[in-house]
């Protein structure tokens, strides 16, 4: 194809050889030259761009680390509220805003999508949805690519909205079973260099409702399936015998924690959710692969292939899965620089693996743990952490300056009971028991974990859970919100809090940094407590709020 033919074709990708570029530059049909959505090289270089935040965890690495340096430990005490916007859909806010060229896209618990002016917080457009809620109302954000905003909804739709206007472009039911399947995770755009096609990666939420998890690549043009990888091996597949009888048919293993990709090796890292029924493990004898594992998939072919898996908790009896996006980084173990991948789980563990082999490098307990070897009984027994404890989905960061992983964790214990049997009822939890009764202590901490030794550089204790994840800045700060509603800035070296702000609603979403016209902002969403509600929570507002902070 000549260059001219390439340019006039529907979706034209200019091959590097023609232009001497090191990455593809693709023009989607109908997009303006002043692009409203990122291109493939934007996504590949996201980690080094302080202005935009175009993937849920900043970049494909899952490392919530910003190269922005305007806000420093020296001047952070001067941070003040730049704007606060209240959105008209109350509920818990689990959103990671996507910010590109001065427009911020946020979502609320019932799948409303808002485009805000990132400098002023003014609403540019709103898309309203009213989905049926199967269990939890939450949405973690959008994907921005090919001129569209993409959202996965609580009633199993994938919806494309025009990024400039918010008008619906297409709307498709993409789950296999709308009775028990839905979406909360942010769709992740990825440009596949082998086929030249864009993928939209989404994992379905169905694990605790009797479905089997999968991660699927959709065509952003129309929502058709490019490939799908299921987390539960079926008959004839390796490790199928880790499921006794036919328990593999309702096995769980959702992958809704986010997608980490190493483009240089074309490896995808995913955390796999818990096995079901959650609390009656006798129904599923065996190790129950690949639940409660990290998997590394080779995505260089037409269909992903499993490279390695590392199971953290075989035959889980307490819903203690690793719910966050894996953090891929190159760090120092002793004197050696190694490619590593870190995660935490709800059992209160921090895990550090070799990113190439999946071998264990380090394991540190980061929450109070108790009763983890005894399954829930019919009459009930205690174990810690409960399903709201340990390390949750908001993820963390790796700071190269201190060679430390920043990761918050919670100390929450629970009293669990199991049922005598597991009965699948369409649309209900398939857990064979009740979610644990909260028994305290319901505290949390921000942890800085040294990569070489696996010990704590520092821990900062809170009297309430700290669900704000961790945003690390190149200037030496960590930003994280506490459930009670306070956004905090820590000194990365010491863990001292240098600045705080009460947002006026509960925080259970990660913080982000961005720039507009060279001015740096910090942003965090806050809202209702939802099922994170604990008796100790101080009363505060429950409106859905986005707050942005700046120096000037």
């Amino acid at each position: 194809m000549t260059l001219r033919e390439q340019l006039t074709a529907g979706v034209a990708c200019l091959a590097p050889a023609a232009l001497g570029l090191s990455a593809f530059l693709c023009l989607g049909a109908g997009t303006a030259l002043a692009q409203s959505t990122p291109n493939p090289s934007d996504f590949l270089n996201a980690a080094s761009d302080p202005a935009n935040w175009i993937l849920p965890a900043k970049s494909y690495s899952g490392n919530h680390y910003t190269p922005a340096t305007q806000i420093t430990p020296q001047n952070v005490s001067g941070l003040h509220l730049a704007w606060k916007t209240t959105l008209d859909d109350p509920g818990p806010m689990e959103n990671s805003p996507i910010i590109y060229n001065g427009t911020m896209y946020v979502t609320t618990a019932h799948d409303h999508v808002y485009a805000l002016d990132a400098a002023t917080g003014k609403v540019k457009w709103e898309f309203t949805d009213n989905p049926h809620v199967i269990a939890f109302a939450a949405n973690r954000g959008i994907g921005l690519v090919d001129g569209n905003v993409y959202i996965g909804t609580l009633d199993g739709h994938l919806i494309a909205l025009n990024a400039d206007t918010g008008q619906k472009v297409w709307d498709k039911v993409t789950v296999a079973d709308t009775a028990n399947s839905f979406y909360t995770m942010a769709p992740v755009p990825y440009h596949d260099p082998n086929s030249g096609k864009d993928w939209l990666l989404v994992g379905v939420s169905n694990g605790d409702w009797g479905g089997n998890g999968n991660i699927t690549a959709y065509n952003p043009q129309d929502g058709s399936v490019i490939w799908s990888w299921g987390s539960i091996p079926g008959p004839g597949e390796p490790n199928h015998d880790s499921w006794g009888g036919d328990s593999w048919k309702r096995a769980g293993g959702s992958m809704w924690g986010g997608v980490t990709i190493d483009p240089t090796t074309q490896t995808m890292y995913l955390n796999v959710g818990n096995p079901t029924p959650d609390f009656l493990a006798t129904v599923r004898p065996g190790d129950n692969l690949y639940t409660d594992s990290m998997v590394a998939l080779d995505i260089s072919g037409a269909q992903p292939k499993l490279k390695w898996y590392h199971q953290f908790i075989p035959h889980d009896t307490h819903d203690w899965d690793p719910p966050m996006q894996p953090i891929l980084f190159t760090g120092k173990v002793g004197n050696t620089e190694e490619k590593l991948v870190a995660t935490g789980d709800k059992a209160g563990n921090y895990w550090l693996l070799d990113a190439t082999t999946g071998n264990l490098v380090d394991h540190t307990a980061v929450s109070f743990q108790k009763g983890q070897d005894t399954p829930p009984s019919l009459t009930g027994n205690y174990a810690c952490p409960n399903t709201l404890g340990g390390v949750e989905y908001q993820g963390g960061a790796y700071d190269p300056a201190t060679n430390a992983v920043l990761l918050p964790s919670q100390n929450e214990c629970g009293f669990w009971t199991a049922d005598k049997d597991a009965v699948y009822v369409a649309g209900q939890f398939y857990i064979a028991g009740a979610f644990p009764k909260l028994v305290g202590p319901n505290t949390g901490q921000m942890n800085a974990i040294d990569v070489t030794s696996g010990t704590f550089d520092w821990r900062h204790h809170f009297d309430l859970p700290n669900y704000g994840g961790a945003l690390a800045t190149a200037s030496g700060l960590v930003f994280s919100g506490n459930l009670g509603g306070t956004e905090n800035a820590f000194d990365t070296q010491t863990g001292n809090i240098l600045w705080s702000y009460d947002t006026g609603a509960y925080i259970q979403a990660p913080s982000e940094a961005y720039e507009v016209n060279g001015q740096e902002y910090i942003v965090v969403a806050s809202g209702g407590a939802g099922n994170a509600a604990i008796p100790e929570l101080p009363a505060t507002g429950q409106s859905s709020i986005v707050s942005a902070f700046t120096l000037k």
């Binding site: 269990a135 008959p235 036919d246 593999w248 709201l388």
Partner: protein, 421 residues
């Protein structure tokens, strides 16, 4: 001379010529009945039927082992331990964690669980999956108690453990007259396609038998027909028949599943009326009589329940019952979902009483739970009456299917929620 003898614990025998099926006989029970022991033929790849028969044989062998030990009168502890282990071996098979080779097995190498695993481990979910699941669960429970029996200190400890195991095994074995879990393996073989012997003739269970065959429909055996006439006709499996029909030179044994199949056959027929029977006047099409909507609670309960909801439920489920962080619990969205998913009152009752409030499940008093159920039913426009919603469970709730209540409801708002007073 025709004679029919039938006994609940031995294969049914029907006299008649020419229609002889091999009897699959099992150890002690066969010896008691006085019929010859026929070793099971081992095919290179066992059929589902053979596998199920083998599973039942292993369970029966385990039962026989512990019953025989019990009747022995031995005072040697090791004798009883060995019997328990041999029973475990028959149930678990050589792959099981509790298997001990030295004791030998009352059953075969695969064990009941090995056979059940082979039957259940497939993509499809046949109608016999449910009783086999139940059998599997009961066998595992029995193994747990037999494992205790293996190191019982005193004979009466052993008796207690073995008695517990025996109750589970009897349910796992089941009986041919029951469908579902209580029918166990025997019921599954009697009433579902699992019981059709290899190579047997199969006919449509909705039709009348015209030749010796197994009448199968939608996975169930509705009847077994054997040719009438002089001689002995033995059946491979218990048919669980309640009656014997002699018609058209056939002896027809309807199974316990016959009623279920008849219902399905009727619904198929109703969906596609034959041209000859299509009514000319549309008014002639009859609709089933509408069963009245039950009155399940009192007004006083609903009022009390509104208070419980306001203090314990409203944060997640919203003052308008449409959900903030959690799903809707009354009104159009909730009832549409309930209907589509086939939720019964039992499902919702269980969820509320045992799993709610979400972060403190089962922490309210039974009265509070009953009151809040009354409030939810009122909000769903179900009528109030004189009988209060009970604090105890009621098996009848499993038959109350939830869905939009027909008719006009005064005060119903745009969410489809009715006032509770």
């Amino acid at each position: 001379m025709r004679s029919i003898s039938s006994n609940g614990s031995i294969p049914a025998r029907v006299t008649g010529p020419d229609f002889f099926l091999p009897v699959a006989c099992l150890l002690a029970l066969c010896l008691l009945a006085g019929s010859a022991f026929a070793p099971r033929a081992r095919a290179a790849q066992a059929s589902d039927h053979q596998t199920a028969v083998s599973a039942l044989a292993d369970v029966q062998a385990a039962i026989a082992e512990i019953v025989t030990a019990d009747q022995s009168g031995s005072t040697d502890k090791k004798f009883y331990y060995r019997a328990s282990q041999r029973a475990i071996n028959a149930l678990e098979g050589a792959q099981g964690p509790e298997y001990v080779a030295a004791s030998g097995s009352a059953g075969d190498a695969a064990g009941a669980l090995g056979h059940l695993d082979a039957l259940l481990d497939r993509k499809a979910t046949p109608v016999w999956a449910e009783p086999l699941h139940g059998a599997e669960a009961n066998i595992r429970a029995a193994i747990a108690h037999l494992a205790d029996a293996r190191h019982a200190h005193e004979l009466w400890d052993y008796d207690i453990a073995v008695s517990r195991a025996l109750t589970y095994l009897l349910v796992a074995r089941g009986g041919p007259t029951e469908l579902g879990v209580f029918g166990g393996l025997d019921g599954a073989l009697a009433n579902t396609e699992l019981g059709v012997p290899d190579g047997a003739t199969i006919a449509d269970g909705c039709a009348e038998p015209s030749a010796p065959a197994y009448g199968v429909h939608d996975g169930y055996i509705a009847w077994v027909a054997v040719a009438a006439g002089e001689g002995t006709h033995a059946l491979e499996e218990n048919a669980g028949e309640q009656s014997i029909i002699v018609r058209n030179n056939m002896i027809i044994l309807p199974t316990a599943a016959a009623a279920v199949v008849a219902k399905e056959c009727n619904s198929h027929a109703a969906a596609q009326p034959s041209p000859a029977s299509r009514p000319i006047a549309t008014a002639a099409v009859s609709s089933p009589a509408k069963s009245p909507v039950p009155a399940l609670y009192t007004k006083a309960q609903a009022a009390a329940g509104a208070q419980v909801f306001a203090s314990k439920c409203v944060l997640c489920h919203g003052a308008n019952l449409q959900g903030t962080a959690a799903p809707s619990v009354a009104g159009t969205d909730f009832l549409k979902t309930a209907k589509n998913n086939g939720w019964t009152l039992e499902v919702i009752r269980y969820l509320v009483f045992n799993d709610m409030p979400f972060n403190a499940p089962a922490s309210l008093s039974p009265t509070e739970y009953a009151d809040v159920l009354a409030f939810l039913l009122a909000s769903d426009c179900y009528p109030a009456g004189g009988t209060p919603f009970p604090t105890a469970d009621d098996p009848a709730f499993a038959s109350v299917k939830l869905g939009p209540v027909p008719g006009v409801h005064p005060g119903e708002n745009s969410f489809g929620v009715c006032p509770n007073s």
